[in-house]
């Protein structure tokens, strides 16, 4: 059965680019919708995880994002650009959910326990270097202002260029450019100041 395992690697990204499958999912085919949901989940979770700015309700926000994606899917027209559409929908969910949270927690400015307990939620499963690294990056990203953070996340972790970020964030290309550059710079400087990072960075990509 090992052959089967090897064959399933990396398929999820390809499925998101499969315009025929996307088209069938858009027209309501339940099997195609499910295949797309399974394939989209890791990407949605990664975007929420990095851009939401808080560790508490990531699973809930992921679920809200997934529900929104599959609720709005019948309106998708450009089947070849599913991932860009997906990321835009998720970004908007993250933005509105984040705003709700800020309105609420600003009353208790210092009550957010994530502020000083960086590793509190690392489970044994996360002991892999890659996961320690992304945890650390998330910790630092959470401290950057939302717009700069999200622009940096799109640029660094999803490979979007400025014009694409502008489209997703619904702003001008110039603004997107600035947000990306400042977000990246802030993240880099925070990471450099963190002594825990240097070892991880080297290990993670050997």
């Amino acid at each position: 059965m090992h052959t089967v395992q090897a064959k399933t690697q990396g398929n999820k990204t390809e499925i998101l680019k499969n315009a025929e499958l996307v088209e069938r999912a858009v027209s309501g085919d339940p099997m195609a919708r499910e295949a797309l949901a399974v394939a989209a989940f890791p990407r949605v979770r990664k975007l929420v995880y990095l851009s939401y700015g808080n560790r508490y309700d990531i699973d809930d926000v992921t679920q809200i994002a997934m529900v929104t994606v599959f609720r709005d899917l019948p309106g998708l027209r450009n089947y070849d650009r599913f991932t860009a559409w997906l990321d835009t929908v998720v970004y908007n969910v993250v933005r509105t959910q984040g705003r709700k949270r800020i309105r609420f927690t600003s009353l208790f400015a210092d009550a957010d326990p994530s502020q000083d307990s960086r590793h509190w939620d690392i489970t044994p499963e996360d002991e892999q270097v890659g996961h320690q690294l992304i945890n650390l990056l998330q910790h630092h990203l959470n401290r950057i202002a939302p717009r700069k953070r999200n622009a940096a996340v799109m640029s660094i972790f999803f490979g979007y260029v400025d014009s694409e970020v502008a489209q997703i964030m619904d702003c001008s290309v110039e603004t997107a450019k600035k947000r990306i550059q400042h977000g990246r710079k802030e993240l880099m400087e925070r990471v450099l100041k963190d002594p825990g990072c240097s070892g991880l960075l080297k290990e993670a990509f050997q």
Binding site: V4, T8, E20, R24, V67, L192
Partner: protein, 505 residues
Amino acid sequence: MSNTMCRWVSMKLAKPPTEYLLEHEKRIIEEHLQDCLHCSDLKELSDEMRQWAKLSAPAVSPFKERKIITDALEGRMPGSSREPLFAGRLAPWMAVAGIAAAVVIAFVLFWPGAQDNGEQSNELRQQVAKKIETETIAPKAYNLIQFEKSTPVKLMREDKVWGTEHALVNLNILSNELTRIELIQGRIVVEVTKRKAGEKFEVVGPGGVVEVVGTIFSVEVDDLGVQHVRVLRGKVKVNNKRSGKTSVVSKNHQLTIGDDKGSVIASKQELDSDRELMGTLKANIRSAQAGNNGSRGAAKDKSSRTEQNATKLAQKAIKEKRLGEARRHIEEAQQSDTQSQDVPDLLARLARAYRQQQNYAAAEAIYKQLIGDYSRTTAAQNAMVALAQLELNALGKPNVALAYFDTYLASVPSGYLSETALIGKARALRQIGNDSALFQTSNNYLAKFGKGSFASEMLLYRGQIHQQTGKCGLAQKDFKAIITRWPDSRKATQAREGLAACGTN
């Protein structure tokens, strides 16, 4: 080094790698990096950052992942009340496996990440393994498998599965007695060894379930989601999901689930394409050619080989997006006696390729050719729906779309695509603003497919028309049905607005 200089350099280094630096900027930066440790650290980090795109978020438990996916597909927001988790499509599986095994099966089915994070789910896997041991079955689930040509995936016993390159399957080995393959798209050929009584091997597609005893057969889900079954050896039982009807397909026969023809003799080309997928065709061609040389003239043999090429070349050209060339090869195939039967399928594929390139005018022309020249083939019937969708969505011509949807519905009233055609028709009528026809269509749909994929949309259309014509009692009934059945959907929000407009809530 000056602080202003460092600030300038660090801003430049923070630019994404896709952005260019001017030559003189590069020189200044290089010079600065030689004396400034801080900035050279930044430079190193910005190089490493290119790798961060590969990182994925920490694993969520497979159960949680499965739950979020199921909830998302059913439109449930976090914290909303939930129905029993195993309702719906899993129920029959559990019935087959028996109550004792049900716990374990559910456990494994809700374990979709098995192929993903090898290491992370180790602990979970051990738990599962322990459970399995005590229950004496060895279920496994593999999601979204893809195939390489002529390389079978080997299952238990001597069972093998081949798939086309764009075939996508979920494989569930539920017990020694039950193996189930879910075919999402593409074509697979399955070779199954003889089973004892009570042992089952099933292939599930959108149209229905194919049940096997000991045989070789292929199942294809084409681009429109239509499911075809073809048998190369032995026989299979096919259960139509929608009608509940069971039919038997025997050797060299094929069945398209949902069309009215039932099991018919399969063409040699199609049987050969299955054999080709298995990698057993080459030997057959050679032996056939040896026979030909004895009985037929060499010239005839040569011409049949060039014809063989036209279909093959067209397929290859479509795949490699050389569509003009593909068109010429299809014309060659059209001239040939032995290959003209491949033409409808080739035209359908070509139209789809044009549509993918967003060359809608060319796609439209090919669909029209297919419908005009091969009106009695399934490919042409399916093309009507595809063309109608194209007219409605991409070309913005709801009136033209409506005509094609209607033609399809009139010529194949209970065809597999009738549900798709009805929702398309409703959307076209909605755009045109023909409420009385929309009312009839929604009634028609709801009578036929009350639990169909588009029932909520049709209920909303009907409710809104009731409401606009002052029949608030009937409107309320439809709106309330939407709110009860899909409480968190966008349709429910619209239904609540409808209710409010009717003066109640």
